[in-house]
Each structure stands twice: as C-alpha cells, then as structure tokens.
Amino acid sequence: MTDDLKLPRRLLIGTALAAPATIARPARADGEVIVRTPGGAYDDVMRRHVYDPFTRETGIRVTVVAATAAKLIAMFRANNVELDLIDTGDAQLMTLEGMGALAPIAYDRWRWSKPEDVTSEVKLPYRVGNFTYATVLAYNRESFPGDNHPKSWADFWDAGRFPGPRMLADIASASVNLEFALLADGVPKDQLYPIDLDRALRSMSRIRPQIRRFWDTGALSAQMLSDREVVLGSIWNGRLQTLIDRNAPLAYTWNEHMIQVQALGIFKDARNVEGAQRLADFMMQPQVQAGYAKALIYGPTNERAFDLLTPDERARMPGGENSRRSGFYQNIVWWHENRERVTRAWSRWVLR
C-alpha cells in the first residue's frame, strides 16, 4: 500500500523538476479564496473578525499568502495568477490597475454592505479601501516629559529645542516623508500637492544630521523607538499603539498626521473572482469593519462603522472626524505619477 503510493509521488517530483513552468495547477473548487495580506498579527485579527465569520456564512475557506508588489506583477505577467483578492496599499493596486490586471469591484452586486456607506475617497472602480492608517509624529515621554514635546513637524525639525536622534521613512517603505519636510518648511497642509521635490529635499537636508536611520519596514520603526535608538520619529499609528499598549514610554501627537489607505483589489484572471468579490463585500460591512478596526486601531472606511465605536475609540481612529481635522490624506495619485522620479532623486540625495 505504502509502496504503491511512492511511485506516483516520485514521478510527480520528477515531472515538477523537469518542467517547472508547466506544473499542472492543482484543481481548486470555488470553495476557497486566496488573499494576499500584509501578514503578521494582521492575519490573526482578520481571521477572527472577517475570514472565519465569512466561512461560517458562505462555506468558502479563506487562505492567506504573502506577496510583494513585484511578485504580484510577475504573477500577472507570467499569466499565472495564484491568488484572488489583494489586500495591500492603494499605490500598489494603482500600479496593477494601470497594467490592466484588475477586475472592477462589483458594487452593484453587494449584498452585505451598502456602497453608499463607503467613504467616497476610497470607493473606486477597481479598488475599495478597507481601512485607513496614519503616519504620526511619535516621541519618547522620558526624553520629552510633560507638555514639553514636539507638537508639529516644525518642532520635529527644531533640533535645538528638541534634541535627540530621530527617524523618518525611507523610500523602501513605499514613500518618504516629503509632506512632513514641506510642513516643517512652512507649506500649509492644503497646499502640499503637487510636492515641490527640491524644496522638500532641501528641508530634509536640514534635519538629516539628526536622523539616525530612515526606516524601511514597520517592524524596524517600532524597534528603533522601543529600543531608544531614536527618541522622535514618524511611524504608522497601529505599530505605535502596539508599543504603547505594552507600556513603552511613548506617545504621539495627532497634529499634522498623514492618512493613508489600505485597499482591496481583485485579479481579473483569478480562479475565484466571484469568491473574492463576495469576501470584499463581506469585509466592508459596518460591524465587521468595526471589529477589526478596533483591534488594529486602523480607521474604518464604512461610515456606519464609526457609529459602532465608543467616542474614545472614534477619537483615535485615522480617518475619523478628529483625524480629518488635524491630519491630511496622502495624495496617492501624485505619488503614483512621481514615484520613479522621487526614488531616483532620493537615492541621489541619500548617497550624498
């Protein structure tokens, strides 16, 4: 019996090695949706609040996988799309949309969520925002006790009043903090775009001696703050909240934070487009969004979800009323059109 089983497997491996490009795709029923996610603790939260309830309701299993932007593009180009739903930064989805890789979001067929409840800024033909997050100014409470802490990016740039090593985002994190450099240089919040790249980099040069490191991953930014490698820095609010909840002596100012969007897109050549459409629909419901938004401290994109939060929770949600007053939305269209130019200029600037 066991011997009988060995032969086909050996054959299979042999075939796989000899013809890696033509490995037969395993047949997959409509009973599974494969989702690209950012991974880590995020997956656990989403499984609890979205995937498992979705499976209970529909019988469709949800499998999560990791994939970088380049991997997604390579899949599409090689005509071998291995996943259905893409849960990622909206900039990446914009690139995929530009390549014609995505299917339109089927708003007209939604049955759990109401399209009219979705924040209009994130309700787009080929992608729908599933939460917002914010890049905030964080500081160490031991280095800046009481009320004597930086309250704006101009303060962050003022190393005389607020001394100590700092960090800002590197281009490898998807975008650099040009907006903050301009705010520090006196540009008003509503006139940041189109970004004056030269002016932003000139401003950046002034603070550069104080920058210990430009962070490229959320993990590194969290680590540098908690290890006191830096006492000031830009960081994603969810990452920071995790540290604060673990009693790290850290805090942040809501003033002048940048709101960014995470979104869902669906590969048009996916094997389970229908399942992906349904999962997107399911994820956009107010009570589902309120569940994972609370756990992640990321802002819901369904306006009704805010009604399900306590005033306290609402106050610290990116994209909420408070947040819209003191922060600003990152202009993803500008970044999409200028990313290559910024990357080159940044590489030159950083190597100087």
Partner: protein, 280 residues
C-alpha cells in the same frame, strides 16, 4: 551498479535540471522579458549607458566594492589564524573550533543580524558594558552606519574563509615544515617561505569566494547600514519592488552577474588543487 561507474553527466543530471529550472530559466525569463520592454537593441544600449553611467549607480558600485574589500580583508585577517589553529588542533579542541565556526550556519542570516543589532545598538549590550566600565563617556555609534555593516558582514562571511583556508592548510605536508626547521630555518622563515606559499592558493580562493558573496549581500546592509550604505543588491530590489522599473533592474543584475562570473572564473582557476595536494 555502483554509483561510481555511472557517467559523470548522469550523476550531475539532477543538479543540472534543478539549476536550470529554478535559476537559469527564471533569471533568463526575467532578463529577456524586462529588456524586451525597452524595444530595439539600440534602445537597450541607450538605456544601458544611462544606467551604468548614472551618478547613483557609480556611488553604489563604489560602496559595494569598498564594503566588499574591507570585509574580505578583515575576514582574511581573522580567518587565517583561526584556520591555522583548526588545521593543527586535535580531538576535542578541533571539534570545539569547528562547531563554533559551523554552528551559526544553522541559524538564518536574519536572526544573526538581529542578534548583532541587539548587541551593537546605542543602548545595546556592548555600549552598556563599555559605559558601565567607564571606558567611554557616550554610546559609540556601532549600528546604522558603515561600521555596523562591516561587523555584520564579516561575521556572516567568516566561515567561508575559514573552511576554504582549512582545506588548503590541511593539505600542507607537516614533514615539509619539519624539514625546513631541521635545515635551520627560524619559525618566521618556515612560515614565510614554506607554509605561506603552500597555502597561498587557498588564500586566493578564500578571498575570491568571500568577495563574490560580499558584493551580492542584501540583508545585512539593509538592516544594519545607515542611509548612504546602499549596495547594488539593495538598488536592484528598489528597482524591482518600488519603481517597478524592471529593465533597469535587469541591467543592474547583468552587471552583478557578470562581475560574479568573471571573479568565479578566476576562482575556479586558483581553487584547482595546488602544489600542496599534488605533493602528497
């Protein structure tokens, strides 16, 4: 039939198929499909010149070679005495040295790099000990700069040098050294005129393999370096992931691959059995 009687090509076949399938084919597909985006050969040449003669890549190639050279030199200086000790050690001492060198291999580079970050940080173990002993007044900057990259890479690459040198040193016939001593050579002379020349091919091989591996490094400089410590592999990753400019990434890949292959050609020439082995 004993394996030894099979023709060489048949023995190599599984490895060749694997290499072809998971290395040559994907890289070929990547290069061809990326470059095809550019259009004609003339367009490719133009883009190639633009990439190769840009300011950024010039600096990065300089960085890459500079870091590679410093790391290789350090690895050689640290590795040579270690290999010598290993080649002379017996029994428990031999096992102990070998374990110290090989054990880290079983841990991933990322984990080892993070371990270094814990040691080298401003509030890391090394700075705390030095501050505690009063040897320094302020924390040393050992991380997020060139120093950090060099320390991390030297550590990761040391085993490659030690094992290469060990092979060369083990092959030196101890009777040659005894003969030199017997004929009145001082220990210094024995080393300089007999031992060192006999292990020189190992040094060349070790230096080349270390340098080849060093110039392709990604994780260590990305995690431990400062803003300006960009090596070519990091730049390639940026072009692939960030700007999604695959033609440019393909060209940089060709540069790195070409340099590696040229160095490998030199390596395979020098790594041939040297005099030491032949005399046995």
């Amino acid at each position: 039939m004993p394996l030894g009687r099979l023709p060489a090509w048949l023995l190599l076949a599984p490895a060749l198929v694997l290499l072809f399938g998971v290395f040559l084919m994907p890289i070929g597909w990547f290069l061809v499909s990326s470059l095809r985006e550019l259009g004609t050969l003339a367009d490719i040449r133009e883009e190639m010149e633009a990439v190769l003669f840009s300011d950024t890549i010039g600096r990065v190639i300089l960085n890459t070679n500079g870091i590679g050279a410093v790391v290789t030199l350090l690895v050689l200086l640290i590795g040579y005495p270690v290999s010598y000790a290993l080649s002379r050690a017996r029994g428990f001492a031999f096992t102990l040295i070998l374990l110290c060198i090989v054990l880290p291999y079983f841990t991933s580079t990322i984990v080892r790099t993070y371990a270094w970050m814990v040691l080298l940080g401003r509030n890391g173990l090394i700075n705390q000990v030095l501050l505690g002993l009063g040897l320094i007044g302020a924390p040393l900057d050992l991380l997020y700069n060139r120093t950090g990259v060099v320390i991390g890479m030297t550590y990761v690459l040391l085993p490659y040098m030690v094992l290469t040198l060990y092979a060369a040193m083990k092959a030196v016939d101890p009777r040659l050294l005894q003969a030199a001593e017997g004929m009145g050579a001082s220990p210094g002379q024995v080393f300089r005129r007999v031992f060192m020349p006999l292990t020189l091919h190992g040094v060349v091989a070790g230096v080349l393999i270390t340098f080849i591996l060093a110039i392709g490094f990604f994780i260590t400089p990305a995690l431990m370096g400062g803003p300006a410590d960009i090596m070519i592999a990091m730049l390639i990753e940026r072009e692939v992931e960030l700007t999604q400019n695959w033609p440019t990434a393909a060209m940089m890949t060709i540069v790195l691959l070409a340099v590696t292959l040229i160095l490998y050609a030199v390596y395979s020439r020098y790594a041939e059995p040297g005099q030491g082995e032949l005399q046995r």
